[in-house]
């Protein structure tokens, strides 16, 4: 009985001292030493119980009170929002990096911009970007994404510009088929289909051929990717092939764009390029004449 009383008294004294001492004092020092000394055993237990710890968590989750669950839910919501934000930033950084790579590859003098809205009407294919005259953007400048050309600036304000997309009915730029060097005019249409017109029917154009800017006209740098040929129709009796092109860049899925502000001398069409385009035009004219003669016969 005396030992019990002694133990109880010592316990009460220790408890009182511990409560009064808080997180400091000799008892906490002893506890710290004890916990350090037993750390290897704790690690051992952690490793051994790893497979069954999940089971304990299930019970913990089942018995968690409403406040804990609410806190956890709020934390999940916050982390989810943060995660989405970070993913968005990572995605944006990736796209910007692609634009930088593109600018570096083609040695483009350009400014980056962001598409802030689409067309405000239903009959034109345009987008608005957040760069205007204050950033050096003016009408006529080519606009592209990392995938390829998307259009041309048609109007500029101080801090925003409107870009006419290649699929717009009023859009028309000079382009060529990369493999056969066949020149033509890439035009949009009301139904969104993009065609490469004015390619002579005697040219060798196949489905899958890549279409790039030709540089003729001095607006677009030559060699920028536009799209690829998805159908070629050679109608008997017609001077030109009916070529449908699928664009690489889709403005509806793009956010960051590159506005080409000026061209270097290398990016402009050379005299040989112009002569080649002229020769194709004249040969198609000759073919048309001979065709016409054959028809007359």
């Amino acid at each position: 009985m005396r030992r019990l009383i002694a133990c109880v008294v010592v316990s009460v004294v220790l408890f009182t001292l511990s409560c009064q001492g808080g997180s400091s004092g000799p008892l906490e020092a002893v506890r710290g030493f004890f916990q350090t000394a037993t750390m290897p055993i704790r690690y051992f237990g952690l490793v051994v119980t790893a497979p069954v710890r999940g089971l304990g968590n299930i019970f913990s989750n089942l018995t968690a009170d409403q406040a804990t669950l609410s806190e956890l839910q709020a934390e999940i919501d916050s982390l989810r929002a943060r995660n989405a934000e970070l993913e968005e930033q990572a995605s944006s950084a990736e796209r910007l990096q692609e634009l930088l790579d593109l600018r570096s590859t083609y040695d483009l003098q350009s400014v980056t911009g962001t598409i802030v809205s689409g067309a405000s009407d239903s009959w034109s294919s345009t987008v608005t970007i957040d760069r205007g005259t204050s950033s050096g953007v003016t009408s006529g400048m080519p606009v592209m994404t990392s995938a390829g050309v998307i259009g041309q600036v048609v109007s500029s304000g101080p801090s925003s510009s409107t870009v006419m997309l290649l699929s717009d009915e009023g859009s028309s730029i000079s382009a060529l088929v990369q493999s056969s060097r066949s020149h033509g005019m890439l035009t949009g249409s009301a139904n969104g289909e993009v065609k490469l017109d004015l390619v002579s029917s005697n040219q060798d154009v196949k489905v899958g051929d890549v279409v790039v800017t030709s540089g003729l006209g001095g607006v677009f740098p030559k060699g920028l990717p536009i799209g690829e040929v998805v159908s070629v129709t050679n109608n008997p009796g017609e001077l030109y092939l009916d070529i449908v092109v699928e664009l690489y860049a889709d403005a509806s899925f793009s956010e960051e764009v590159l506005v080409v502000t000026s061209l270097t001398e290398e990016q402009r069409a050379t005299a040989e390029d112009i002569a080649e385009a002229d020769s194709q035009e004249s040969s198609s004219g000759t073919d048309a004449t001979s065709d016409g003669d054959e028809s007359a016969e």
Binding site: L4, V12, L14, L27, F34, T38, T49, R53, G56
Partner: protein, 184 residues
């Protein structure tokens, strides 16, 4: 012969102490039922009470409780207090019963588990550690008591099997050998 029996009892208690200590440090924090954790210090004390006198059981309970307190973040001395009383009561109660019966040991162990768990958690609640009363009683005390009781059941079963293979295991240390008369 008595010396040999005492030695065997000491060895049994030493092994029990080591096993329960390791289980308390290594496994108890990682295996829980709700917010409850098994109390191997109580398991040790309940087992020791079968071999020791009430006074010795109280000391064993005090030491076990002190180690439990040091391994936790709760105020030091609370579990030592609870287990000192529990050890004394279990050993004292055991004097009046026939120890060879497994049933009474289990019942005493269950009562001790529940009592110690509730007293400990209520005391923690009163000193401002822990959540609501409902949380303390139903989500901490009861799961702790249940888990502790389950492990105690296992230990009592193993000890009873050991006793059947060694008839003199129950000789008391410092308690006048009362367990040797009644068996384990």
């Amino acid at each position: 012969m008595l010396v040999a029996d005492k030695n065997r009892t000491v060895r049994t208690i030493a092994v029990l102490a080591i096993v329960c200590f390791v289980l308390q440090i290594a496994f108890a924090p990682n295996i829980g039922l709700g917010n409850g954790r098994a109390n191997f210090a109580l398991v040790f004390v309940a087992c020791c009470a079968m071999f020791l006198s009430p006074g010795s059981s109280a000391v064993a309970g005090f030491v076990a409780g002190l180690l439990f307190d040091l391994s936790s973040t709760a105020p030091v001395g609370l579990m030592a207090f609870c287990l000192s009383l529990a050890g004394y009561a279990l050993s004292y109660e055991g004097r009046e019963r026939i120890a060879s019966e497994f049933g009474p040991q289990v019942i005493r162990g269950a009562i001790a588990s529940l009592g110690v768990s509730i007293v400990y958690h209520l005391a923690m609640f009163l000193v401002g550690q822990g959540g609501s009363f409902f949380d303390v009683v139903f989500l901490r005390s009861l799961p702790t008591a249940l888990l502790t009781f389950l492990f105690l059941l296992l230990f009592l079963f193993l000890l009873s099997r050991m006793k059947s293979s060694g008839p003199n295991l129950g000789s008391g240390v410092g308690g006048g050998g009362h367990l040797s008369r009644r068996g384990l």
